[in-house]
């Protein structure tokens, strides 16, 4: 059985928080660059070139590209042959987040008690942690800092099976249209289809952790991703909602089997600062 110490996990999570916030993945940057080539609106071009400058500057200065460094969403794939030693996994992840947000000069945006007190916890913990036990002896940790501007624009709908493909398309388009300029377009659109209520929303979030622009392996879903992207970019919302051709950079669908009587669909939007970083131990 492979042993992994919590000290190692703390260190890795700390670094992933800083890396994700200050050094945007080249997958996203490349799509923004391609978007700039295709954007026709002057405001759209201006916004996209400012966004590209900002990516370069934040990388060079090792500072957060966006002040909303989010709640730290952490996906953990824990191999069943891994033994974590020296402490507990959840506490280690939270300690990593605490150190990453402090040492990286990232904003602490988490409030304790969502309804009554709403008091800032001061260290951006707790993280939102999703753990999956998988075969093997590897530990994969993905950190997806999630800003609220885009998170607030997400939605879930329990469709009837009869509403089918058309129902899914209409719901995704409606969600993006109503979000308008709020989620900092150009956005990445994460769509979760199937499972149950909570499974669909989790799939939509997971879709945002995928390499941006990487298509679904199934040709039917891949075609749906392409069609939705085209339709979204016909909405005219454009970069920052000021009008233009590039409203979304990519649509990512994740699917899961579901019940005979239901068709859950969830949409989770991510802003152009589509931060995600991962490490395998």
């Amino acid at each position: 059985m492979k042993e992994i110490s919590v000290d190692k996990i703390i260190d890795v999570v700390k670094n992933l928080c800083i890396q994700a916030s200050c050094n945007l993945g080249e997958d996203v940057e490349e799509l923004i660059r391609l978007g700039l080539d295709r954007e026709e609106s002057e405001f759209g071009q201006y916004c996209l070139s400012q966004i590209l400058d900002n990516i370069a500057l934040s990388r060079q200065e090792n500072m957060a590209m966006c002040q909303d460094t989010g709640v730290a969403v952490v996906f953990v794939e824990l191999g069943q042959d891994v033994h974590i030693v020296g402490g507990d996994l959840q506490a280690a992840i939270n300690e990593g987040v605490r150190r990453g947000y402090e040492e990286g000069y990232l904003r602490k945006s988490v409030v304790q008690d969502p309804l009554f007190l709403r008091k800032n916890t001061g260290d951006n913990t707790p993280a939102v942690i999703h753990t999956e036990i998988v075969p093997g002896d590897r530990l994969k940790i993905s950190v997806v800092p999630k800003g609220a501007g885009s998170e607030n624009m997400g939605a879930l709908k329990m469709l009837k099976p009869a509403e089918g493909i058309q129902g899914v398309k209409e719901f995704v388009l409606k969600t993006v249209r109503e979000a308008g300029g709020n989620p900092c377009p150009p956005v990445i659109v994460g769509v979760g289809i199937g499972g149950t209520m909570e499974k669909a929303t989790l799939l939509a979030k997971k879709a945002l952790a995928r390499k941006i622009g990487e298509p679904h392996p199934d040709p039917n879903y891949q075609a749906l991703e392409e069609e939705l992207l085209e339709k979204i970019n016909r909405l005219g919302i454009g970069p920052q909602g000021l009008g233009g051709r590039i409203t979304a950079l990519a649509v990512h669908i994740e699917d899961y089997p579901t019940h005979i009587a239901t068709l859950p669909v969830a949409v989770n939007l991510n802003c152009h600062a589509a931060r995600h970083a991962e490490a395998i131990l």
Binding site: E40, S41, E42, F43, Y46, C47, Q50, I51, D53, N54, L57, S58, E61, M63, A64, M65, C66, Q67, D68, T69, Y105, L106, R107, K108, S109, R118, N120, G122, A148, G149, N152, G180, G181, N182, C184, K231, R234, L235, G236, I237, G238, Q240, G241, L242, G243, G244, R245, C271, H272, A273
Partner: protein, 186 residues
């Protein structure tokens, strides 16, 4: 997109009337930050008939919660937050003399009505361009509600802070104009 207009704070009525939706501007002078929690406090203060901790007459509020400054920086990353969450409070502040708001995303009809009635303007900064925007902030001091951390009210001294006028004092809305110009039929 016309040439960039340079404006200074505090805003004068003739300056406000000259600004049109779709203008690119740079702002130089003092602006104040304020977002969700601070707005809630400000509204409560006004409702209780108390004096606000900052005089917003002819001033601009920037909807932002900045990152901490690194050593040698005036401020950390500081791009705009979604303005719509402040819509419930903005008309009250506009009525009390606030003349400008900087944020991102559309505003409610109630806010736009107040802007037309009292002569105020709404600017958009580029959401997510927080590192670039931080370069135009020369000084940042907390002036109210320090207990709110990133949500405290800061007094910022800015130089050539880049913005776009999205809703002007006549109620013209660049979000609507822009999207209508680029929307394609299904």
């Amino acid at each position: 997109m016309a040439q960039v207009k340079k404006i200074t704070t505090p805003l004068k009525p003739e300056q406000i009337q000259d600004l049109k939706a779709g203008d690119r501007v740079t702002i130089t002078g003092v602006i104040y930050t304020g977002r969700d929690a601070a707005h809630k406090y400000l509204a409560k203060t006004l409702q209780e008939g108390q004096l606000l901790p900052v005089d917003f007459t002819d001033q601009i509020i920037y909807y932002v919660g900045p990152c901490p400054a690194k050593p040698g920086q005036a401020i950390g990353s500081c791009g705009p937050t979604t303005s719509g969450r402040m819509d419930a409070y903005a008309p009250l502040l506009i009525e009390k003399g606030l003349k400008g708001m900087i944020g991102k995303g559309p505003r409610s009809p109630q806010v736009i009505d107040a802007m037309k009635k009292y002569g105020a303007v709404y600017f958009a900064a580029i959401g997510g361009a927080g590192a670039t925007i931080a370069r135009s902030v020369k000084k940042a001091d907390v002036v109210a509600y320090p207990e709110l951390g990133p949500e405290a009210i800061y007094r910022l001294e800015v130089e050539d802070f880049p913005c776009i006028v999205v809703i002007d004092a006549q109620g013209n809305d660049q979000y609507k104009i822009g999207v209508e110009a680029y929307r394609l039929a299904d």
